[in-house]
């Protein structure tokens, strides 16, 4: 194969930040050095003034296929992901039919074959995400599924959650010791189901039924208590409030095997956005207060929060043209996540890269091939990001079939220049090439 050389970039990985050229051949990084003289016949790609990172990994993508292909397909989600610098996305089980059986997981893998980003299927915790019966977790684990989540719904019944946790701890015999990660959407529906936005001064002013923070924290407290008892490996999805960050901080201090993610939107936007009544700002969990945003950012900075995950949730445009309380919750995230992080978060690039790449890769159990160091012999899953290029978010210009970006019209800093999946340039100079 032709050798490809990324020239003039700044490498960012677990070892830190340094100047370096990267040579790739046949899907593998073959050389990393301060300066590489491109061999005859090689292709050279410009990485000057840009970061060269391990490809990003999203723990939380609603791909919508099968079932709602008018909103998104696996292909369009994967293309958007590649444009956003991702080389792997974990597909949520919120499909129709639900990804709750080996046959549907196989279908998803078959559809995802050849996509411009690796699509890693998760599977539901309960059949149909109905919170009643366990999915065949053992068979699914044997197929390679490592993350289980009822995506968009929390398991309401504490007895069932307890059984799930117990059962999951026994599956390491199948996985060869790799942990089964139970990813929970923490929401006590009895407290939140009637609500449409954060319960706070804005919901009061806007006359909207609210979703109190207790809907999230009560389920977290329950699951932490059950994790203490069972030893299950828990991951809290899209935590949204200050109290949740503190719960994770304490659980980690106690030594429990618990991780947590936060979304770009919960890290940057607040419930004040809902004053427009534009359902593009409706999301679950809801956008919360300034104090919550500050606490989430502190949680990123001190390592309490392990990953930035998008909760990419496409919805066709007309569904967001209903009244706020009737519109579905969810926002696009894949194509803007790294730019939002670079624009809004005051964190060193190594932290941002960890939160978007190797930390989520480890949680997803794909750290044998994603989120690897930029070093000779490693698989060439890489992205090149220009941290200074600015661009304006336009939903209609995105690869997604849907346009529901909460950053519509905003200027962001940081643009993905190249994305390399197993040695192939799937994004070149900002354009999708697969």
């Amino acid at each position: 194969m032709t050798v490809q050389v990324l020239r003039g970039g700044t490498i960012v990985d677990q070892a830190g930040e340094r100047r370096g050229d990267v040579a790739i051949d046949d899907g593998v990084i073959i050389e990393v050095a301060e300066s590489i003289e491109p061999p005859l016949g090689s292709e050279v790609f410009d990485a000057s003034d840009a970061y060269v990172l391990p490809g990003l990994v999203d723990l939380h993508t609603h791909v919508r296929e099968p079932g709602r292909e008018e909103a998104e397909t696996i292909e369009t989600a994967a293309r958007g992901a590649a444009l956003g610098g991702y080389t792997a996305i974990v597909a949520m089980a919120s499909t129709t039919p639900t990804m709750d059986s080996p046959s549907i997981v196989r279908d998803v893998l078959a559809i995802a074959e050849g996509a411009p980003c690796e699509v890693v299927p998760s599977a539901a915790l309960t059949v149909g995400r109905n919170g009643e019966l366990l999915t065949p977790m053992g068979e699914l684990a044997a197929m390679g599924v490592r993350i289980f989540s009822d995506a968009g719904r929390g398991v309401q019944d504490p007895a069932l959650m307890w059984r799930i946790m117990e059962y999951a701890t026994g599956l390491e015999a199948i996985t060869g010791g790799q942990p089964i990660v139970l990813a929970q959407h923490c929401e006590v529906e009895a407290l939140s189901a009637a609500g449409h936005m954060h319960e706070g001064e804005w919901s009061n002013r806007l006359g909207m039924a609210g979703q109190p923070i207790e809907a999230e924290t009560l389920m977290m407290m329950r699951d932490i208590t059950l994790a203490r008892r069972t030893g299950a490996r828990l991951h809290f999805q899209h935590i949204s409030c200050a109290e949740s960050v503190e719960l994770v901080r304490q659980a980690k201090a106690e030594g429990l095997q618990i991780t947590a993610e936060a979304t770009p939107h919960h890290l940057t936007l607040t419930h004040a956005e809902c004053a427009s009544y534009d359902p593009v700002f409706k999301v679950n969990p809801p956008l919360r207060s300034d104090d919550d945003v500050a606490a989430l950012r502190a949680g990123l900075a001190d390592g309490t929060i392990d990953a930035i995950a998008t909760c990419h949730a496409p919805h066709e445009p007309h569904t967001k043209e209903f009244p706020f309380d009737q519109a579905p919750p969810g926002m696009l995230g894949l194509e803007s996540a790294v730019a939002v992080a670079l624009t809004e978060l005051d964190l060193p690039i190594t932290s941002i890269a960890g939160l978007l790449s190797w930390q989520p890769a480890a949680i997803a159990g794909i750290d044998d091939r994603h989120g690897r160091p930029i070093a000779a012999g490693e698989p060439a899953n890489v992205c090149v990001i220009d941290p200074n290029e600015t661009w304006t978010v336009r939903g209609t210009e995105m690869a997604s079939r849907s346009h529901n970006s909460p950053w519509e019209g905003r200027e962001l800093r940081g643009r993905v220049r190249h994305t390399i999946l197993q040695g192939e340039f799937v994004v070149t100079q900002g354009e999708a090439t697969r």
Binding site: E199, E201, L206, G207, M208, F322
Partner: protein, 309 residues
């Protein structure tokens, strides 16, 4: 003012401008033929996504007294139930050629969304728990009609504040004009973060009666019992209802108001509804007058903006 969506957008000056216009339309309503050609040739559509015969009739009466053509789109029983988006419904109505749309919707914020999509003027006739600006304006007009100044006027709003668009708009209007507003309700019927309302809070109607110039009672909805917000209508009546005993402790020149329809025996005892201090029917009469003023101001300013551009 292309649209009237909330009281907040008006401020004291905007409220007073509407009051001034209402005074002149009050005179029109006294005439043997209570009709002026102010809006002849203009079409006013009422889109009620939630039934409300009283409010719709009041708006349509106001529109007809201004000689506007009226069109009634009863959305509660139409295509909206067939999964049509709000935007599609609005664009359909607008395509028929209307100058103003009067919107009632059970979803908070729907009129604001419609105003964004429609080039016609939008008047909010009540949205969810959010706002009911013309109710607040007719209430201001009713209090003003008594020759009372709002500066320092003590107004107590009693009842289900949490779920009330009337409470939210009236607090905004009364406060903007300088009144001291107290909301009176059990904690379960107050919104979380009640401070954001900008009113004083009490859980004890008996403690506020003697210092109240205007007692404003809200309608208590039966469905609140199912949500365990109050144990029973009987307990609510005993704790917060305007009984003859409580009425006797109100000042002689106090006013008793209610947006209607009244639940006799719940927020007000049947024998108190005939008390001379009750202004409920004045509120209804003034509703037409104030809505004439709103329609006139909104449509004449929209026309002025059009000819300017």
């Amino acid at each position: 003012m292309k649209d009237l969506l909330t009281i907040d957008q008006l401020g004291a000056d905007g409220i007073n401008e509407i009051m001034k216009a209402a005074d002149s339309f009050a005179e029109v309503c006294q005439r043997p033929v209570p009709k002026v050609p102010a809006l002849r040739g203009r079409t006013v559509a009422s889109m009620f996504f939630e039934d409300s015969t009283r409010t719709r009739t009041s708006f349509e009466t106001a529109a007809r007294r201004l000689s506007a053509d009226t069109l009634n789109f009863s959305a509660a029983s139409s295509s909206v139930n067939k999964g049509e988006s709000l935007r599609d419904t609005v664009e359909t109505i607008e395509a028929m050629g209307v100058d103003a749309i009067i919107v009632r919707h059970r979803s908070s914020g729907a009129p604001q969304q419609i105003a964004k999509w429609a080039s016609a003027s939008v008047i909010n006739a009540g949205d969810g728990w959010h706002a009911h600006p013309t109710q607040a304006l007719l209430d201001v007009y009713t209090i003003r009609q008594e020759g009372r100044s709002f500066e320092g006027l003590r107004i107590a709003i009693v009842g289900d504040i949490r779920h009330s668009r009337v409470a939210r708009s009236n607090i905004e209007a009364f406060s903007a004009l300088g009144a001291e507003v107290t909301v009176v309700a059990p904690p379960t019927l107050l919104p979380p973060h009640v401070d954001a309302l900008g009113a004083k809070v009490s859980h004890d109607i008996d403690a506020v009666l003697a210092e109240t110039d205007v007692l404003y009672l809200l309608r208590m909805q039966r469905e609140r019992m199912d949500q365990a917000l109050v144990p029973s209508l009987g307990e609510y009546h005993r704790a917060f209802g305007l009984t003859p005993n409580r009425a006797s402790r109100l000042a002689d020149n106090a006013l008793i108001m209610h947006p209607g329809p009244m639940n006799r025996g719940v927020e007000i005892s049947p024998e108190v509804t005939d008390d001379p201090r009750v202004r409920v029917l004045n509120q209804v009469t003034n509703g037409v007058i104030v809505r004439m003023a709103v329609l006139y101001l909104v449509l004449s300013s929209a026309a002025a903006e059009r000819s300017a551009s």
